[in-house]
Symmetry: D5
Subunit: 187 residues, 10 copies
């Protein structure tokens, strides 16, 4: 069954966030929009560029009232060192979440058994903890965080306007469609 | 288990394509890149705008040597009528694939049991029939086909250049990274 | 076990009826006689002639206090378009019921697994929701709605006159038989 | 699963036919069209009228190259006596088949467990032993053998003309439809 | 396990008795002695002679306060006709019991699966519904109802005289044995 | 399932016969007719009278080419002493079979679990080892060996004359019936 | 698991004792010491000598407050005759227990399946129904009842003197040992 | 099932014998008679007296061609020390067998789960490895090795004289019985 | 799963301690630190040297408030004799625990199935019965009790100082580390 | 079952070793002695001190022909960074093995499910891949690598001298014991 429109499974783990070790859980995610971004491993090649891309757009996510979570199967200890040693990762002001027990990679179906690492998966989750978009790449293919931002805003808009749907390539402010019997078969 | 890097399951079904009914199968997909785009149902609201978006970018996909497949759980009969009656869908020059047996929506994990319809799922598949990217939205949130194009090109580039990876928000022609021991912990 | 004299299984789905989308369910069928007519698919060949045949006799069914339901595995969206585009189907004043989840084709045992479509099945159901007659054809063989009307009236007559049975080829108004010991072995 | 387009299950039993006891089996049915008519019990009320109706139309069935089989769960001994003592049944020139082991009522899904008797079921079977039409009534509702004849002829016509389908209420000699892409959505 | 000294299993069926259709059940058998006589089928060869033999001795059974039941797997409809058409069976003043559901032939372990008919079984049952004697023959070997009468009387005598046993070939009025320690090893 | 027309199950046991201990088995029974008579226990009350009854008729059984076997769950040792001490049993010239392992009482379904003893069961078995008649009494009701002799002869007659059946109360030399279509429903 | 120090299983059976038939059960054994002696079969060779040996020592067992039970799988009827006809067995004043249901031979694990007879087993049981000694021989090897008497007395002594144990070949009145730490490794 | 007349199960273990450690197994027991004597534990109270009793009679066992094995769940190391420190055990010239794996106590059904120790069991085993006598005591009751010697000789006599059986309390040289038909019921 | 940080399983057994037999159990271990030392078998080669090594350091263990337990699968009887006869073992003032039921060797996962003996395992257990260190050697490799003492003290120190950890080769009195965010990645 | 004397399970993983990434597997361990040292996580507190302790003694291990492996559930990427950033870890000249799939922590039974990290476990493994010693600590208790060196040398000595065993606290060059019967119970 697809994860779309299902509830995030209960979890509890440690993250490095703004110079501290903090606990992150399904409960702490509730009440605001979340963007969960899985990466294969700390200290590797693509991952810092993706963290940096997220960091560069973090102000936008914050303006949209959303928190960003970077997750790898490393420990929070490794994340602290990664933050200290990588110029790119050092820009991150959002939680770097450790998943050494593999509970998160399994719950979001991005675990690679043969490597013990995550696929590149991105998830937009609403304040009730319900997954609204899923995007997963084979690890050699990086993501574009602008598209994640677009998805987030479309998800927020349709949540706020239940009677409307966003058409293809909708951007914030663009026109939407209000489904009605008359439109059936006419578009 | 994630569908990423797994083989497309065997299937056989009917499509409406350029004024004819044709058979589409896992075998007929082999040998070139494929972009499979699921939509909830013919004659509805968002779907024509997404078909149109794909049609407007079809030349780009073709230039990249990729075929586009639109899939719904309707019959190929409905797709013919949809193509005839919808100005937006009428632009489509790629196969409109019928999946009344639900074999494709189930194989790609985008089936909604309570409705018998598909989620908005997009898949980039390589010429060996291996799934390289997955993107699924709750149905009220439309996609942007430009991002699909970007994923396709990144997948093609890394397939052609095994020793390199694309960094975040990579676009065709941009710089890539060649992983090496020296880079570990340095980016 | 035969479906004869069993209760219609619970279901709920959407139909196109007199310019509106309406919900149809086992509950909404209760309280009057129902004639349920399955067809393979919208937009196909025989089906419109059968819908038209039913439409031409609809006044008779209404006089008998029965509702007619056309069912295919298409969506109600497709049914709206079919009604608009087919001159034959456009005559229909009874509900065109969508069954994209296949719950009805499976409950009435007319599902074709290999195609996801229905067999040509007709069912007369009494106001308590009990199936009184079953008729199913291989799809290349169409039905005659006059015979369905005859079955309906015989079912209504015997329901109203518990002590009597209708002899072969009985038509409304013809003589019936009242079973008694004396008749055993004498007819 | 529906019995439509399935093979008749293997069986072997005794019948009374033209003053003799003969064996009837799935094998003996092969090579010509068969019409199998189940009835509740010998010596009862409706059944003789239905046997007589079949007898009155037997010349038509023979002209169409079809054999008629009347089946009840009685023995062939009872069928001989029934034939001798009932004026109506005495007209029958086709086999009266005994099914005391209930193998046929179960194979055709017309067995009533609580009574050990058959429902009123009629089946048209092609020369390969494949069931093409099914019709079953609650026992208080008799059938019309003219409609069975119409179904038989439609089944024979479409078997002989694979490229054509019979429209609603088709009678021998009437026009048929040849499905083609152009007709999709046009009838 | 042997049926001897077990309770007759619950059943309910229809019989032809003295020109009427009556219900017979395990409950209706209680309160008097019963003699249950199974036969293969109505209208056959040996069976009428056995029914006649029972009819000729029926006065004796009645004097002993016992009812006689003839059972076949035919319907009660067939039994009415049998009674009317067979001079031998026409003498029967006891119930001719129909067992089309095979519940009685199975409960008394006299069912022939390959034929759907009964073996020649005779059972003496006491007023509490307990089976006291069992006699079953291969169908080509008829019974002698005088021996059944002798068994019935011995069963009644020992029921009435709990302290005594009937010796071999005991006839009504003959001497019996009263078991005692002294007799052990002395007869 | 009834034991009628089934094969005697394999067994091997010891008997006392004409002053010797002999082995009796299913194999040793083959080639001639057998009459197997079970009794509850040696040294009891009815049993000697039944053994005596059999002994008094033994010449008849021998003339008919049949062997008689008396069986109890006692040992052959007990049977020797029984033969020596009981005047009635002392007349026996046929095998007194011991069944201390209960294999025979279980195979012939006459075992009383609560007592470890046999019911009064009599079986006529043909030279192929097939059981043709079964007769079992509750133990307080003795048998009449003359009736067993009648059954044996009827079984032998119908075995020798496959086209004929013995009518009710048939005795050696009496008329039989040859089944034919003409007789159906006429006796 | 060994039977030593387990409870005798519940049973109920008939015995011949001092000219009467009496019931013997696990309950009737309680309250005094019991010696249970199994033998293969009545009327055989060794068994009478062992019964006689027990009879000759019965006064000793009685003085020790113990009852003796001889058990075979024969009936109590056979035991009465055995007692009458065997001079050796005729001396027995203790119960001769019948076990035709094999419940005792199975409960004491001395049953020979292939023969339906008992092994030569002797059991000393205390007044609480707990088995204290087991002795079983292959049937060609007889026992010596003096040794059984010795075991009984040792069992009674240690029951009465919980702090002491009987050394090897202890006889009534001989010295015993009182276990203590000091004796460990010193005897 | 009783162990009588079953084969000793395969085993292999270490023993202390005449100043050496030797291997003892089911194979090494073959070819001569064996007497296996289980005891609870080395260094305890009764056990040395029983070992001494066996040692005092060892010459007799040897004359009879039998080996004696003492078995406890201790190691062969403990047995060496036991032999050195106990004056009673020091007399032993037969193997003192260690069973720390509990394979022997379990195979001979003398294991006490709650203690990890053996019951006092004695077994006479023939040269083919077949158990002929079993004797087990609750541990507070010692054995008398003279009785074991008597059993051994009776077992050897009947093995050597297949046609004879030893009567009760038989001692070497005493009269035996030759079973014959004439003796049945006469002793 | 590792035994580390799990509770000792419930057990109860007998030990030889300071000239007495005493009961040792999981309950009696509670309230003070325990050091459990398994050895293969009493009276063997390495074991006495290890017992002596423990005895020589026993004052240190006592000063640390810990009890030492030596365990083998021998009985406590053997342990008494071992203590009396071995000069090395005779020094032991701590309990020598018998485990003839193998409950302890199995609970601590040091049982050798093929021998019924223990591996050389040492366990430090805290006063709550939780195992803190495990050390197991193949039996040819002896331990050094000084290292066990070091482990015990480190376990006691960290238990008493929850905020600190002992660095490598820590000895009583040496410096410890207090984990803090600042130290992550800095040592 | 204990891991002692079992074969290392098959595995394959990546390590950082002398400035390179190398593959380590069960196969690459064969042919020389191995010392496998698990630690909870890179960048933590105790772990660097233990790595440093191993590094300081590495010359000794090399002289003994043994390789040392440090294992954590981190990736080899993290190990490279750890080696670069930690002065203590930077001394390591042996492989730092990554186990992100947890195959090694599970195979050596040192996995902590709730944390995804390893316990402090040390294993000495012989050149055939057989585990000879196991040592596991709760994570707050560090190890002393000198003791591991002592175990390694004792394991090597006994491997080289099969007839000898090392006594307690044996150090290289000290006296050993040669087991013999005479020594049993004498040390």
């Amino acid at each position: 069954m697809s994860l779309i429109n299902t509830q995030v499974q209960p979890f509890k783990t440690e993250a490095f966030h703004n110079g501290k070790f903090v606990e992150v859980s399904d409960v702490s995610m509730k009440g605001k929009w979340s963007v969960v971004i899985f990466m294969p491993a700390a200290f590797t090649f693509n991952c810092p560029t993706e963290v940096e891309d997220a960091a560069d757009n973090y102000a936008e996510f914050q303006k949209a009232g959303a928190e960003v979570y970077i997750v790898t199967t490393d420990t929070h200890f490794s994340h602290k060192v990664w933050h200290e040693t990588s110029p790119a990762v050092g820009k991150a002001k959002f939680p770097l979440v450790g998943d050494p027990t593999h509970q998160l990679t399994r719950a979001f179906d991005v675990h690679i058994d043969a490597e013990g690492l995550a696929l590149r998966g991105t998830f937009v989750i609403n304040p009730e903890g319900v997954i609204k978009t899923v995007e997963v790449h084979s690890n050699e293919i990086a993501r574009d965080v602008k598209e994640t931002l677009r998805k987030l805003k479309a998800a927020q808009f349709t949540a706020a306007n239940p009677g409307q749907v966003c058409p293809a390539k909708w951007q914030e402010g663009a026109q939407t469609i209000t489904p009605s019997l008359d439109l059936v078969g006419k578009i």
